[in-house]
Amino acid sequence: MKLALRCLLLLWALSLRTAGAQEIRVAAAADLQFALDELAAQCQKQTGRKIDVSYGSSGNFFAQIQNGAPFDVLLSADIEYPRKLEAAGLAEPGTLYEYAIGRIVIWMPADARVDLAKLGWQALLEAGVGKIAIANPEHAPYGRAAVAALRSAGIYEQVRPKLVYGENIAQAAQFVSSRNAQAGILALSLAISPPMRDGKRWEIPVNLHAPIEQGAVILKSAKDKEGARDFLTFLKSSAGRKILDSYGFTLPAPAPASAVNQ
């Protein structure tokens, strides 16, 4: 009994140690899952500041931030959310920055018996494809883009009964990678991440849907505004852009050097 009590006390003491460190808290869209891990690690190396990333759906973060969530920076898959925060006076004025444009792909497991590269859209109509995972188009930007692209391709009504909705793009990816769905319309950044890069993918032409503009903003409530600025500067730097590019994000026109720090 005494031993158990001591163990508990020790655990409690240990749990105290992690609190109170000076980290930059970033709320990030689920499509950044792998790219941002790498980006944060490099930024950490360069600035010496610890970066804590929370991944989730942009809509959730938006609601949480409105209600006082303690983040310093929001990286949203839909630039509308940072815009709304700015309009509501919850963001640091002038810090809104479009860091990337997302791409979508059709993704299938490597052993799928469908020639995705040859068939393209038609692959989704194959009998072997029973379920197609997309992000929830009601609130996830990647889901919206997927539906728009299916409509442009003229097959939305045909595939609609096959669609299943992930809460965000990462869950849609998880539905396919666990083989419960046979195909998915996913973020390119997830399709080329280490756990999924061996699968088949077909890039959806960008002209079939409105661009998935992704926006970053520093929050008014940020505890560490200077750290947040350092992080955003890194995101805009060539090193940061290179990482985003390697994960398949299309980068907005390179900002001229003088504009980088605005």
């Binding site: 929830n136 009601e138 299943v164 909705y165 809460e167 998880q174 419960n180 769905a181």
Partner: protein
């Protein structure tokens, strides 16, 4: 407010509490009366969903229901489609998730039956089944009602597991809790609020009703035995 999602949740909860009653009664009987010394092991297994986060169960269910999982393989062979994203899949996941809410009240009420009555029943020549039907069951009505209602209410309020294996299909797997979550995500707070409030009221009424009924049932059932 989304009535369809609410009705779906009611359908799911009714299926789950019916199945849990059929499965739970024999299981609880065995847990209450078996002399097996390792009985505490299955008891612990039954209680697991109480302490495990729904993510654990949801994660394993998703893998089990996939074409490589045991459940998914079997289902695919038998019915030609997978289990994830189906109503049946949700029922199976919810039965597991609500198991302790049905079994534990049953075990408790079976165990509370006075052993002298069971001995008397046996001495008078009643077999186990007859003793169960005529002595244990009538004395356990409060426990049975509690088990039914708790499994119903718990399934009604289930979120995490449904989120992980459901796929959010309207009329199939979009339960009321998922719908509320979606409404919040879409910043449609008014609609989220009306559905959430309705669910709150329903849950309260159901629980209040069961506690009220239980109080009465206890009085009615126990009086003849306790006052001679």
């Amino acid at each position: 407010m989304n009535i369809e999602a609410l009705l779906l949740s009611f359908r799911l909860a009714s299926c789950v509490s019916a199945i849990l009653f059929v499965v739970g009664v024999p299981l609880a009987y065995w847990l209450a009366f078996s002399p097996w010394r390792w009985k505490f092991l299955p008891e612990a297994v039954v209680a697991l969903p109480l302490v495990l986060p729904p993510t654990v169960l949801g994660f394993y269910m998703l893998l089990a229901m996939g074409p490589r999982g045991p459940l998914g393989k079997f289902w695919q062979a038998a019915f030609g489609h997978g289990l994830a994203f189906t109503f049946t899949g949700l029922v199976i996941a919810s039965v597991l998730y609500s198991l302790p809410f049905a079994v534990q009240p049953l075990v408790a009420s079976f165990e509370a039956v006075d052993r002298k009555l069971l001995d008397a029943s046996a001495v008078l020549g009643a077999g186990r089944v007859r003793t169960f039907a005529h002595v244990i069951l009538p004395l356990s009505i409060p426990g049975i009602v509690t088990a039914l209602v708790l499994s119903f209410a718990h399934t009604l309020g289930e979120f995490g597991v449904v989120l992980m294996v459901g796929g959010n299909l309207e009329g199939v797997t979009r339960t009321v809790s998922i719908d509320i979550y979606d409404r919040v995500q879409s910043l449609d707070y008014a609609s989220a609020n009306s559905t959430a409030l309705l669910l709150l009221v329903i849950s309260f009424v159901v629980l209040a009703a069961v506690y009220g009924i239980n109080r009465r049932a206890r009085r009615r059932v126990w009086l003849p035995w306790t006052s001679k």
